[in-house]
Every structure is written in structure tokens, then in C-alpha cells.
Symmetry: C2
Subunit: 315 residues, 2 copies
């Protein structure tokens, strides 16, 4: 993060105030957690975070890491501070997250996030609530052309299980999928010698992007259950009046390892990167001692500001 001067700060504050009002109205209480978590806490949440962030040492020589997102800290907080509270629980945050960056990547070391987490709703109502609320909050904040991409992180796992693909091949396939490298994906699947509807669907997934009609491709196949859930989520988003902002993107793979179902990414045509994202993480809270399904979504405030400024130039 660079220095922010008063004119920009006033605009960032206005965006945060609109989002906070929207979250508060919907019953999401704001929480704050320390910037640093013990590395073993973060590792419990997602093994891949180990070594990815800024590491420090506490007074006893234990490793602290500057948090790279708020989902794991909120999961820890829910398990430790709300061990018996009746779900659903709703939390929001406005917080800095940190990422160790590569030299000259131009990527910021820290970014200001706004996000919500919904704990204890196992059905597509959960996804629809957090996605619908974030889309409405962005509209309150002055964005007009923002969209959400929705995929399902469990799709690949289901298909790879179906095809009995081993660990090593799995990582390589997922890597091709993440990079949307269709040729590489083709080659790898071919090399595995797998055939049938699951293999066909796996190959096709990165191309399945568009309106709810892309979900038809999942019907009666190995990913029918995931398709049903996504369709349910879509119908609820239509009811919330934001159906036209949804783009299904079955090739969407989010980096973080804790997602177990639907995954989301927020876009705006004024910004070249995703504004934010999230998903369903039904296994995460259990790792901290309170097993509850959950989903959430986070936004990069400075990117949202660029998008909002872009909208204003259009007027």
C-alpha cells in the first residue's frame, strides 16, 4: 500500500461507510482481530499459507504471521469466542491484509479489505445472502456495472475423484485449470488416458462461462449435485434483484485451499483485476473446534474505489 492523501481518503471512507451501513442493516456485526496470528493457527486453516506471508517472532520466539486474509482469523474467533452461540452468526470486517510480494511485481504489500462471513447456513441461501449483500453494498457505494463470477470449487475434486486421478497428476491438472491453460489441460487429460463423461466435462469446464444456461451442461452428469446447488443460488439471487449481475464461470478456481463448494469473484469493467472474492468453506471452522458450515466474500476497497471513480467518469 502506498500513502493515501486526504482527497482519496475521503472517498475511501465514503465507500466504507456505505458498505458498513449495508452490512449492519443485514445484521453483520463488525469484528476486529490482531494483524498478526500465530503461524500454527493460519496453518491449521490453510496449509499453503505457511511461508507465504510476512513472518515475525514473538517474545517467546514463536512465529507470528501478518494475516493474508480475514477468513481464517474470523473462523478462529467464532470457535473461541462463540463456542455455544446459536447459528447462524454474521460478522463483517474492515481490515488490512498483507501479502509478501515478488520483486518489482507492482503488487501492494498490504490491502484494505471489507468482508462478510455467514456462519451456520449450509444451503444455497448462504451463498445467495453473502453474494447478494455484497452486490447491494457495492451498488450503495456507487458502482453500477459490477458483476459476480460464480463457480464451484468442488467440481474439479468431484470429477478427479470420479476419474481416480492420483495426487501428483491432480496438482498438475489443477495448475493448468487455474491458469486456464486449455491446451495444457488437454494434453494432461490425454496422457492420463481417462475417458467418459467425467473426462469430457473436465475438459469443457474452463469454457463454461455465461448465464444460468451454462448450468444445463451439469445436468444428469457426475456434477449434477453441484449444478443443482448453483441453480438454487441463482434463483435466490434473482429474487434479490441481482440476477443480471451473475456470470457463471465453471472454470473459476480460487487460490485458497479451504473452499469446499461455491466460489465467487467480483468484477467491474473499470478494473483489470478481480475486486474481491470468496466462497463456501464448510470444513474450516471444524479445524478450530466448532464444526459449522460457512461462506463469505471480501472486497478490496481500493480497487472498488477505482471502479467507482470509473463509473463517475462515465456520467
Amino acid at each position: 500500500m502506498r500513502d493515501v492523501l486526504p482527497d482519496e481518503m475521503r472517498e475511501l471512507r465514503a465507500i466504507m461507510a456505505r458498505l458498513r451501513e449495508a452490512f449492519e442493516r443485514a445484521g453483520y456485526g463488525e469484528v476486529r482481530t490482531p494483524s498478526m496470528e500465530y503461524e500454527d493457527v493460519l496453518r491449521r486453516g490453510d496449509a499453503s499459507v505457511a511461508g507465504a506471508g510476512y513472518r515475525l517472532f514473538d517474545e517467546h520466539g514463536e512465529v507470528l504471521v501478518l494475516r493474508s486474509d480475514m477468513t481464517i482469523p474470523v473462523a478462529r474467533l467464532v470457535a473461541s469466542r462463540y463456542p455455544d452461540a446459536e447459528p447462524p452468526l454474521r460478522f463483517s470486517y474492515f481490515a488490512l491484509a498483507y501479502r509478501a510480494v515478488e520483486a518489482r511485481s507492482g503488487r501492494p504489500r498490504e490491502f484494505l479489505q471489507a468482508g462478510i462471513e455467514l456462519i451456520g447456513v449450509p444451503t444455497p441461501e448462504g451463498e445467495a445472502e453473502v453474494v447478494g449483500l455484497m452486490l447491494a453494498g457495492l451498488e450503495d457505494a456507487g458502482l453500477k456495472r459490477h458483476r459476480v463470477g460464480i463457480g464451484d470449487g468442488s467440481l474439479y475434486r468431484t470429477l478427479l475423484d470420479e476419474l481416480a486421478v492420483g495426487e501428483a497428476d491432480r496438482a498438475a491438472l489443477l495448475e493448468s485449470l487455474t491458469r486456464r491453460d486449455l491446451v495444457g489441460l488437454d494434453v494432461r487429460i490425454d496422457r492420463l488416458g481417462v475417458r467418459g463423461p467425467a473426462a469430457d466435462l473436465l475438459l469443457e469446464l474452463p469454457r463454461l462461462r455465461g448465464g444460468p444456461e451454462v448450468l444445463d451442461r451439469l445436468e444428469r452428469g457426475p456434477a449434477a449435485a453441484a449444478g443443482e446447488r448453483l441453480k438454487g443460488c441463482y434463483e435466490l439471487l434473482v429474487e434479490r434483484g441481482v440476477g443480471d449481475r451473475v456470470i457463471f464461470d465453471l472454470g473459476l478456481v480460487r487460490e485458497l485451499g479451504y473452499y469446499t463448494g461455491a466460489v465467487f469473484e467480483l468484477y467491474d469493467p473499470a478494473v483489470g483485476f478481480a475486486l474481491g472474492g470468496g466462497g463456501r468453506y464448510d470444513d474450516l471452522l471444524g479445524r478450530f473446534g466448532r464444526s459449522l458450515p460457512a461462506c463469505g466474500i471480501a472486497l478490496d476497497i481500493q480497487r472498488a474505489h477505482v471502479a467507482q471513480a470509473g463509473e463517475e467518469r462515465l456520467q
Copy 2:
């Protein structure tokens, strides 16, 4: 810092909103700087910060430190982003600061600060403006019994210069003063064999605490100039209607090395620690390339919250 849950967060937000309104009304534009600064930037501001904070390494192996206050980052920002702007310049911030803590000290690693910096006002009007604004902001935020202690960090230096005390003895004396160790101070001054009005005043300083009448002791002595400035500041605070909140405390020594004149500490009877503090730092900006006098004051929001909650219990 520990986790903050929604009820407390709502109260912290309300305090911050009142302070932000007060700062904004007075023309203090909010700025934000990165959580991490290069160690050589911090060291330029105050040599003693080296090694005191949390250290990290950037992609090139350079040392980054989590900032321990916002005054040095704002000084850097003013020099780099406002090289030609006509003073006075007024900035505010709401930001986390970090401090490496000793084992089991119970002190938090990070704390949420609100503060203001006034750049380019060399006269006591500067001190009176920042102190008066912070006192008014705290009143807006619901505090009633808060006070400000005002001393002068240059008093000791003036007296020690007058007495021609060498570097090593100086550090030991200052250490006794900081701990308000009157017996130790007595012994050290005696051992130095210094005599006269400057030695008498040095011995007396830690006991000079109270209303504006304590400033009379500085008249016509080696610290007359500092006394005049403090009296000027007091008169301006009386005009601002906050004279009854001022406690002169000529024994006040603030930890940070960059203060060159008046120093402040904020108190409330509901809290056992200072709520915050500040002072005049006329040499700091010059180290970053824009030589301007300046003063500022910062507040620990969570301590202010404890004080405010204490007021409410009294009602």
C-alpha cells in the same frame, strides 16, 4: 491487540466518528500510510526506534519495520508528497501502531491510534491548536474528566547545557527524571558537583506539577524562554475554553527522541495509563528534506473507550 467483538466495535467506531468529525471540521485531512516503513526512514526520524519494533524483510532483503507511531511516517509523507505546499498543513490519521513487547508484560502488540499533526506553526498557537482540538474531540466522544499534562522536553536539555553536563551523565540523569526517581536524581546531581540556579531548578522540576502558577518558578531563570512559551500556550487554551483541563507538569519526559519543545500527555481518572500524548518536534521534518516546525498529539482509542465507559458508569 486482542479480538474485538461487535458491541465493543460499535462503541469504538462511534468514538472514531466523533473524533473524525472534530478533526475534519478543524481542517485536518485524514491520511493513511503503509503499516511498514523502511528501517532507515524510521531511524532517520528517531535513532532509538532501530530494533525496537517488529522487523521484516522485503523482496530485496531490505529491512521493513512495523511503524511504532504515525508521526515519523507523516513527516516523511509531508516532505515527499507536499514539497511545495504553503504551510500550515494539517493532517489526521486513524491507524494501528505496533510495539514489540516483553514477555508476559500484558501490553498489547498493536494499538489503534487517532492523531493530528500540525505542520508549519512555530508559535504556541500550534501547541494550543492541537491540544485544544484533541480535548474538544474527547469531549465530543463522551469523556468528561479528561486532562492534559503539559511539560517541555527542552527544559532538561537547556538546564543540562547550562550545567555543561557530559553525554554519559546526561543519559543517567534523564533516566532518573523519566522514572521520576527524585532520590536518584538528587544523588546524581550531587555527585556531579554542579551548583546554582540551573542545578536547583533541575532538582525541583519533577515536583513542579499543578496549575499555571507552577510556571512562575521558571521566571527570570535559565528556563525563562520555555516558561514564556508555556504561559502563552495556556492563555490560548483558556481562550478555547479548556484551561481547566490543563495540568502543568514540568517533570514530564516523553520517550520519543524527536520532541524539541512542549510535550503533552492525556489522562482520564478512569484509566491507569496515559490515554495518549504528543509534543512539538521542530527538527523532524528537516531530516526528511522539508524543514518546518511541527507539533502533534495522538490518542489510544481503546484506552479512550475505557475512559468513556467509565464516565457512563458514573452517570
